[in-house]
Amino acid sequence: MAALTFSSIPIKTHVVTEKDDIVELTRKYTEGIAFPGDVIAVAKSVAAITQGRAVLPEKIRPGLIAKFVSRFPAKHGSLATPTAMQLAIREVGIFKILLGCAASIFGRLVGAKGYFYIVAGRELALIDDIAGTMWPYEKHIILGPREPEKIVRSILEATGVDAVIADVNDIKCVDILAATSPESKRTAKEALIDNPFGNDDQQTPIVVIKQQKS
């Protein structure tokens, strides 16, 4: 039986803003490149940017609770600054954040990690703090995209091609937020492991994955 291999075509786009529609953007840039049987992968951050979820920190005034609570998460994480924590409070409410903190303390006592996000909301793990996204958004905090399932379904309807929204980094970590089918999710997880979205100044937020028999 022939094994499947994948080829990824990263697609450079214009600088995406909240004025763009993610479905139309994806349709336009994949036209003539993606066909049924392929998978279109859209970067999580770009989906969020089109939803107006890129926030300049200067526009946020952290409250006392955000300032206090932000001292506790790991310093390399995305919620270690008062501004990012204030946005987290805005996302899920102060009650969930405080419950998450209590769960986190309990987790530390029993030697387990991740309780904060389990209780406060997994969407908070999708927040990218400053320098987490490509130019010109490197000075923004990027929240996770809203309704990713709806976005991938709409892309499928507009293009006829399976779609996923993916969060990929350079340490071979691929998180699929939404997929139009379990198979497209499996394909994307395997094909995106080397981060074909690129990083930093490369503006390739869409990747077309083509399967080949070898």
Partner: protein, 297 residues
């Protein structure tokens, strides 16, 4: 190579790579199929006309500034033709290469040999500021200036060493070296340049941006400071806050010396930028370009 199928240009970028111990600049154009093209080159300009092609973006100008390639523009010039135009610092030999596959890749490769001619005669002292019990500034979250200066200095050394510069670090690890010893290293080794790396710190958390201080006693220092400020700012896309005389550097006597503070660590946005290792590479590239500007013809 003369693919006749209609192709779509999907991606293009530039990088610097090493082959057989030599450095090259490369522009890569990715497309759905290989394409046929016509090349025109003049003094510092290479123009590739790609036939039977559609670009995914009608017009895109990409800043490179790698010391050789300044920028390139990809443009849909006619209904079925695309032009890729590369603007160079000076006339440079180049080759064109291909790799088939999905996507197909076309490489325009430029020889960076002339940069060795500029850098190999230079002796450069690279000084990571602070160290040991002298932490320097502390960011609002947790970054320490002494650590980020060491990382920036390391990247700068790597960059300059590639082109044969003779570089010396004033410290290689977390130790506090007195300023006098740092300057003495430059004087005793008869260095051409002294590049000190720091970050700014200010009690006002709103203060941000790049600052470069220079040795007012050395001819060329002010020019070097201006060039480095311009090139680093262009690379990391930040504002130049100030270029100023730094009287401490007069201890270097006639050696051109600068203190480069690419960002302000006490500003929490700029502290965040320091968490991205790509920033250090960009700062190093900016310093490299600034030095090149001073010594290039």
């Amino acid at each position: 190579m003369a693919g006749q199928r209609f192709t779509q240009i999907t991606n293009f970028w530039s990088d610097v790579f090493e082959k057989d111990g030599r450095q090259f600049s490369r522009v890569t154009i990715e497309s759905t199929y290989p394409f046929s093209y016509q090349l025109n080159s003049s003094a510092a300009n290479v123009k590739m006309l790609i036939r039977k092609a559609l670009a995914n973006i009608d017009y895109l100008r990409t800043e490179v500034y790698d010391g050789l390639i300044n920028e390139f523009i990809v443009e849909q010039t006619e209904a079925k033709n695309v032009t890729a135009e590369i603007f160079l610092d000076c006339e440079t030999p180049f080759t064109v290469d291909f790799s088939e596959g999905i996507p197909a890749r076309t490489f325009i490769v430029f020889d960076r040999t002339r940069l060795y001619d500029i850098f190999s005669p230079l002796k450069i002292i690279i000084d990571p500021g602070h160290g040991g019990d002298d932490k320097g500034g502390t960011g609002p979250v947790d970054l320490l200036e002494k650590n980020v200066t060491l990382a920036m200095a390391g990247q700068t050394k790597i960059h300059l060493d590639k082109y044969g510069a003779q570089t010396l670090l004033t410290r290689k690890n977390d130790q506090n070296i007195p300023l006098r010893e740092r300057f003495n290293l430059a004087l005793s080794s008869k260095a051409d340049l002294f590049i000190s790396l720091h970050t700014n710190y200010d009690k006002n958390p709103e203060v941000k941006g790049l600052s470069v201080g220079y040795n007012p006693a050395a001819a060329g220092s002010e020019k070097l400071a201006g060039l480095i400020a311009k090139e680093v700012a262009r690379k990391i896309k930040c504002d130049i806050r100030e270029i100023k005389k730094d009287s401490r550097l007069t201890a270097l006597k006639k050696i051109s010396g600068v203190v480069v503070e690419p960002v302000t660590i006490s500003n929490y946005v700029e502290e965040g930028l320091l968490r991205n290792p790509h920033l250090y590479e960009k700062v190093a590239f900016g310093i490299f370009n600034g030095i090149k500007g001073l010594f290039d013809g």
